[in-house]
Symmetry: C2
DNA sequence: TCGCCCCCTGGTATCGCTACCTTTTTCGGT
DNA sequence: ACCGAAAAAGGTAGCGATACCAGGGGGCGA
């Protein structure tokens, strides 16, 4: 053990502050945590002592004592894709205002890794947990239920969520896009989707809905998750020979859609006249590219905010588990 | 205080495991933390007990006792821009392999907020700290130095970094791009840069270098930070009437560059013949858009990895403060 | 066979803070 | 002026783990 880094970070502890201010440690604790319960002159004296000594409270000790870590763990697949940025940022901001820090863990897109991350963060005794998606392995589900930890699952829906859920139905998105294309008069359809459970949900529901109307799905292709622009370009290359005029393609993310659109134009395929493209996520790129991209918009920031509210309510214990469905919306732009 | 959420998360503690396995708590601790120091049969018995009880160690208690939180705090301006994704992901992976969790905090682009975030995370007694940029307020610098906390600053350079530094010189980038444009035969120049210190560094160094060669900077415009595609489009709109033929514009990010390129093409300005554009960051968009975008590439993942290594070395106390400069590279594509 | 040393294990004392309860002080109402 | 309730402050006892030191047992060299 390294003496230097040990003794150093905060030699000043609450008893030092208390001694300097001439009060009991408990009073210093109150000044920090429940200032209302301390008289103004005492609080001022304590604050002066804190300032003078440069005291930084030790939340590890406080957490052990109070059994509250004031920390919420959030596990998302990745932050490399813009998809989860908005919810993570707004969630972080919202719980931050309530005095909680967020410990962010990245799960990739494999369940084993997510399970491992969940187990690992539980060792830090978070006061709450945000998870992406609503599919848990049985062992983890059991662990979470038994721990009675407040949990919010976002960005998906489920018949029996673990606890609180704030999301939407990806299959419904797929069907809505299918109807949108059908109503626009398209006669042939294709779908490119990432292999994560939610991308698959959107893509397969799209294809099923098309077929249930007796219409042809000329191409259905699965991409790696998370998928990017290059995946979209390559996928369009692969399916280009199957595209009839008036084909409409649904992509599981705006990046894939942008890639498909770029590749189509390079091949002389007119977008949207010969090929209509719809993405998902409403990334800035879709609004600002030319031609701009039709997409499905979900208010990620809203999801983060609502998830934070619901989880915080759950933490203080006032609310029962809630399930909030957030709307989605097809934003029609130039690519359709 | 809510009884339910209190008593629940882990009723099982180390003494329970010890009792079941018929050993002392200390031995259970050894099985978890230093398995080499426990005999195989004992370890097996303890592991069985852990399994049977579903014991999850309490890192808060362990952290208080050992004065090691096994946690590293990372503070970056934002994760909404792709800029910091790579370093954050690779840093997280690398320190994760060494058993550390990362607590990610977002500072926005204001120093006050960053200062507040630093103070807040110090209360959790991280074993190390990753900061973006190398400019600290005097109070924070003093706090960090006195705390002797291992710190790594990334993505910038400084004469006197707080501790370890892994980055590059943004002004050098600006000059390199200026030389690149000059050598390509451009006669007029423009620059669009975000108002964060590093964007300003790149942009102003570019402009100064151009002027020092006696050449004209026909437009110099500051954008909000973080800046996006729309900012790039608007900026090009604003400076369009100042653009002479053979003008070259340097943008402080690939998003701005892409926006500028999109807007230019909509206005019938030929890229790259009438207007050459260079961005910064080598986002996937630049490689995959058409025309593809010339940019400056910095290996963010490498920065994250090296920062992790250096910080971990610092934490175990073997290394002195290091300063690692990572290279950058101009990637020439179709926009120039 | 004896003794030294190392391997393994156990006991004790915190780590820094807060929950809980008790004591002291303040103050309005009559 | 007194009483009782409420506000303010203090004392004590952990929270759940690990550092540190001590002790017991077995292997190996003399």
């Amino acid at each position: 053990m390294n003496e230097r880094s040990r003794a150093s970070v905060a030699p000043v502890k609450i008893t030092d502050v208390a001694a300097l201010a001439g009060v009991a440690p408990m009073t210093v604790s109150r000044v920090i945590n429940t200032p209302d319960r301390v008289s103004a002159p005492t609080a001022a004296r304590v604050r002066a002592a804190i300032e003078q000594l440069g005291y930084v409270p030790n939340l590890i000790a406080g957490g052990l004592s109070s059994r509250r870590s004031r920390m919420i763990a959030a596990i998302v697949p990745t932050i490399a894709s813009p998809m989860f940025n908005a919810p993570v940022q707004s969630f972080t901001d919202a719980v931050g205002k309530a005095g909680y820090h967020v410990m962010l863990a990245l799960s990739g897109y494999t369940q084993e890794h997510e399970d491992a991350q969940i187990r690992a963060v539980l060792a830090r005794r978070p006061d709450g947990l945000l998870l992406t998606g609503a599919r848990r392995s049985p062992a983890i589900r059991k662990l979470l239920l038994e721990s009675q930890l407040p949990v919010v699952e976002i960005w998906d829906t489920a018949d029996e969520p673990t606890d609180v859920l704030v999301g939407f139905d990806h299959r419904e998105v797929g069907r809505a896009v299918a109807d949108f294309f059908i109503n626009a008069g398209h006669t042939h359809f294709a779908v490119l989707y990432a292999s994560d459970p939610r991308g698959v949900g959107r893509g397969q529901a799209f294809a099923e809905h098309i077929r249930s109307r007796g219409l042809p799905v000329v191409a259905e292709k699965m991409l790696p998750a998370p998928s990017n622009i290059a995946d979209g370009r390559n996928a369009l290359k692969d399916i280009a020979d199957k595209l009839a005029p008036r084909t409409a393609v649904f992509c599981s993310s705006d990046l894939v859609a942008y890639g498909a659109m770029t590749e189509a134009r390079l091949r002389g395929i007119d977008v949207p006249r010969q090929l209509a493209i719809c993405g998902f996520g409403d990334f800035e790129l879709s609004a600002q590219s030319h031609p701009s991209g039709t997409t499905v918009r979900v208010d990620g920031a809203e999801i983060g905010r609502v998830a934070a509210e619901a989880l915080l309510a759950r933490i203080v214990g006032t609310d029962e588990a809630a399930r909030v469905m957030v709307p989605f919306e097809i934003i029609v732009r130039q690519s359709t």
